[in-house]
């Protein structure tokens, strides 16, 4: 877990946005060796640069290594080869926050205590924390359940708790692994709008993994498509819609065109990944 600690110092000191990217993935691969099986080459080699305050969306077939990429950036996994560098200011005790695909919230803490945990660990005064936590609970529609334990929540609500906990930290880099996957379509749109508004009001670097191309196009400055396992970058498109955006861009003609392009590049990969899974048996 030490990778986080030898991050390079920020390149420039002035107020000017540094030209250097926030995250650089250089030739990174990852394999998993599990007992009794040959090594699984899960990801890479992968090259990717993510600019400061950029909102990057990652799409790719299931099992192609998207979560693996996020965990490497997070410092939870080391790359098997290559290197990932993240610039952080050094001012935050928790510079990188992550929303896990399987929530990662604690059943023994109430909703409020879960959201509060990151703030508590940074040692902020409790009155201040309370205000921040209440604000995030309200934004994610969780106020009513603030004192419930996660065991009494639906899957979608748990995922919102997980999102609230990451956002409450106000990190420099936010990693989100399919944060809205368990939500119904309507609530998903509400929270997409909410996230858009939050991000546009206070920009930071986001790497957002999703299976929804619409979601990627709505939220992202850039969308990266990953190949079937081992995942590599096979398409990298800029999303040209003006900021601040709203859900209205969904009806834009260009939106449909971009979605079509993404689908075209993604489809063969999904099929390939699926067939590879079948051949193994």
């Amino acid at each position: 877990m030490d990778q986080i600690d030898h991050l390079t110092a920020p390149g420039s000191t002035g107020e000017e946005k540094p030209a250097a990217p926030r995250i650089t993935v250089r030739d990174a691969t990852r394999s998993f060796v599990t007992a009794g099986r040959s090594a699984v080459h899960a990801m890479g080699p992968m090259d990717l640069t993510i600019g400061d305050d950029e909102f990057l969306c990652v799409v790719g077939p299931s099992g192609c290594g998207k979560s693996t990429l996020l965990k490497i950036i997070a410092g939870l996994l080391a790359p098997s080869s290559g290197e990932v560098a993240i610039n952080v200011s050094g001012e935050h005790r928790i510079p990188i926050a992550m929303v896990f695909q399987d929530y990662g919230i604690y059943p023994w803490k109430t909703v409020r205590a879960n959201v509060d945990l990151g703030l508590r660990l940074t040692g902020r005064p409790s009155a201040e924390r309370r205000e921040i936590v209440d604000d995030w609970l309200a934004r994610l529609g969780l106020t009513e359940f603030a004192d419930a334990y996660p065991g009494a929540l639906s899957g979608g609500m748990r995922q919102r708790v997980s999102v609230a906990r990451a956002l409450a930290i106000d990190p420099e880099v936010l990693l989100m692994d399919e944060p809205f996957a368990a939500l119904d379509a309507q609530l998903r749109e509400v929270l997409q709008e909410e996230l858009l508004a939050i991000w546009q009001a206070r920009r930071r670097t986001v790497v957002f993994v999703t299976h929804s191309l619409e979601e990627a196009l709505l939220l992202g400055d850039r969308v990266v498509v990953m190949s079937a396992r081992p995942g590599r970058v096979i398409a990298d498109i800029n999303v040209p819609f003006e900021r601040p955006r709203t859900g209205a861009v969904r009806t834009d003609a260009l939106f449909a065109k971009l979605r079509g392009e993404l689908r075209t590049s993604l489809q063969p990969q999904v099929t390939a990944q699926f067939d590879a899974g079948k051949d193994k048996r």
């Binding site: 992550m98 604690y106 803490k109």
Partner: protein, 279 residues
């Protein structure tokens, strides 16, 4: 043949308070009825003289036996001694087991170093070590307490260590993202996550500590309820043995219940009884 599956509110939905109260009553009644039934059958067997009532005294003869033991104060003395020994030994062993269990659960190096050695010790019947302890600590309380502590320690150690190791990676990773140190990982993740399983271990160990207590007192035969049982046997005062056995059972039950209740104070995020099985 087609049929209609209907789903309607059941008793629990229509009358939640009454259903819950009724279940509580049922639970307590069943809990009491089974031992009462047991005593009744035992009495019946003696009355019908299916067994020799001298060798197997019926429950009705335990009353006089109890009175005799009570009057000369031996019962109180023995109970106080036994309870003191078992509580002291249990606390010592449980604290050591929890501490070492967590340390080993959290450190791969410690596990590699101590696990094989500890497992080897675990399998040694602790009663076999009694002579050594008697030599070291002398004949009496200290030896008994230490031997109970050692026994309890191993049970608690294993349950704590395996509970800590079973904490899902996802919980640990979420904490690592919050850049916790070891203490915070323990305090916010490992301890609460492992707690339900730890309390199962503590309850088992509570029963084991009473088993051990009686075994030791039986062997060294100095004081306590185990001694009363043994003395009753050798002097053919079987009522005395039986009274002491019943008392031991009661103490063991109350002890495990106490541990369970304490556990419930700490593990409040879980439903107590949520096992669903097809009926």
């Amino acid at each position: 043949m087609s049929s209609v599956l209907t789903r309607r509110p059941g008793a629990a939905e229509l009358h939640p308070v009454r259903t819950r109260r009724r279940w509580t009553v049922t639970k307590v009644t069943l809990g009491i009825a089974v031992p009462v039934l047991f005593v009744a059958v035992w009495q019946l067997i003696a009355v019908l003289e299916w067994v020799d009532p001298f060798l197997y005294p019926p429950p009705s003869r335990l009353g006089p036996g109890l009175a005799a033991l009570w009057e000369d104060g031996r019962l109180v003395d023995a109970t106080v001694t036994s309870v003191r020994r078992v509580i002291l030994g249990y606390l010592l062993g449980a604290v050591a087991g929890v501490v070492i269990g967590f340390l080993m659960g959290m450190s791969r190096v410690l596990r590699a170093a101590l696990e094989p050695f500890s497992w080897a010790w675990y399998t040694v019947p602790k009663l076999a070590l009694l002579p050594i302890f008697l030599t070291i600590f002398g004949f009496g309380d200290t030896s008994v307490v230490v031997l109970i502590a050692v026994t309890v320690y191993f049970f608690v150690w294993i349950s704590v260590m395996s509970a800590v190791m079973a904490v899902p990676t996802g919980y640990r990773e979420a904490a690592l993202m919050l850049r916790v140190n070891r203490w915070e990982m323990f305090r916010h993740v490992l301890l609460p996550a492992a707690l339900p399983e730890i309390f199962v271990g503590l309850r088992i160990a509570a029963g084991v500590s009473v088993l051990m207590l009686v075994g030791i007192e039986f062997v060294i035969s100095d004081q306590g309820l185990g001694f009363l049982i043994e003395q009753g046997r050798t002097l053919l005062l079987l009522e005395q043995s039986y009274v002491a056995i019943v008392l031991v059972a009661l103490i063991g039950y109350l002890f495990a219940l106490l541990v369970k209740l304490i556990g419930r104070l700490f593990v409040r995020w879980r439903d107590e009884d949520n096992a669903i099985i097809p009926s």
